[in-house]
């Protein structure tokens, strides 16, 4: 029998506004659980992206800035430089972080800013109705790739964590997923590692979390998880792409 599990108080002030079965709800809960365990839930400043990620703001009772679209990397840099002892977290989707925000997301990683970035990757622009994003899969039908994504002219899905892990001087890089109970539990440890890397001033930490978008994928939440397992995970490898240095 399992140990007691109670929904984190720090995000319980209201029901969240996400669609039924959306992966954001799980990701947010994992982050809140880790923050409470690390006793950082009252030492926290969020930089929130535009898109479905902005719905996070509706359930938080913390210092937070809803950033202009894609700019969380820059806003969090400004915050952390002047408030180095607060935990500074960017919470964004794949559209916010990798399309319009690519420069700011990359530059914060490039400079090894001591912040933690969580990017919820569901292979489309969710809030605006399901357009193609930088992580949309080859052949994936979206509202702006109606015949399926043609990667020859639109580019192949981007693997940002791989770029950071192989090219930049960052502290911790991981990719998790919310498709199964074991995978959710593993993702939780990645999140905790990322936050601890910041707390110990090791440098930049990022966790990309593969997620589902039942509404725009046109699937039930259960089938959406199957797509995540069968189609996304083979392309986007899970695990710690850059582990924390053992000092």
């Amino acid at each position: 029998m399992a140990k007691a599990r109670k929904f984190p108080e720090s995000i319980d002030r209201a029901a969240n506004g996400f669609c039924p079965g959306c992966g954001h709800g799980v990701a947010i809960r994992l982050i809140a659980e880790c923050l409470e365990e690390l006793e950082q839930d009252k030492n926290l400043i969020y930089g929130i992206g535009v898109g479905c990620s902005s719905l996070l703001g509706g359930i938080l009772e913390t210092d937070r800035r809803h950033c202009s679209h894609g700019r969380a990397g820059a806003v969090c840099t400004g915050v952390k430089r002047v408030n180095p002892d607060n935990l500074v977290i960017a919470y964004q989707g794949d559209g916010d972080a990798y399309s319009i925000g690519l420069a700011e997301t990359t530059a914060a990683a490039y400079r090894n800013e001591n912040i933690t970035v969580f990017i919820i990757n569901n292979t489309n622009y969710g809030m605006t109705g399901g357009q193609m994003s930088h992580t949309t899969m080859p052949g994936q039908v979206t509202t702006t790739s109606p015949h399926g994504r043609n990667c020859d002219i639109t580019g192949y899905p981007m693997k940002f964590p791989e770029i950071v892990a192989s090219q930049f001087n960052a502290a911790y890089v991981a990719r998790g997923a919310i498709n199964t109970v074991p995978q959710i539990n593993k993702t939780r440890t990645y999140i905790k590692n990322a936050l601890e890397a910041q707390m110990n001033k090791e440098g930049y930490s990022v966790v990309e979390i593969l997620s589902t978008c039942p509404t725009n994928w046109g699937m039930s939440p259960v089938d959406a998880k199957k797509r995540l397992t069968d189609e996304l995970i083979p392309y986007y490898p899970l695990g710690e792409l850059k582990a924390r240095e053992v000092k």
Binding site: A2, K3, R5, A15, P20, G21, V26
Partner: protein, 68 residues
């Protein structure tokens, strides 16, 4: 003895817990909550308190009481 408590008003009827429960203890009620969703109910005779429902639920419906 109930090992899991629920908050039916939070349920969005997404069905992830129904699929995740290893003992098939979760089903949808005939009743609806204020959001118009058939909220989940637990068959406590089958429930083993593994917390899979808590882990997969995006909406904080479940609380697992755990070992005393």
């Amino acid at each position: 003895m109930e090992k899991v408590l629920t908050r039916p008003n939070r349920c969005k009827q997404c069905g992830l817990c129904v699929a995740a429960c290893p003992t098939k203890s979760i089903s949808f009620s005939d009743d609806i909550n204020a959001s118009g969703c058939n909220y989940t109910i637990i068959n406590y005779d089958n429930c083993i308190g593994c917390a899979a429902c808590y882990v997969v639920c995006p909406d904080g419906v479940y609380e697992v009481l755990g070992d005393k």
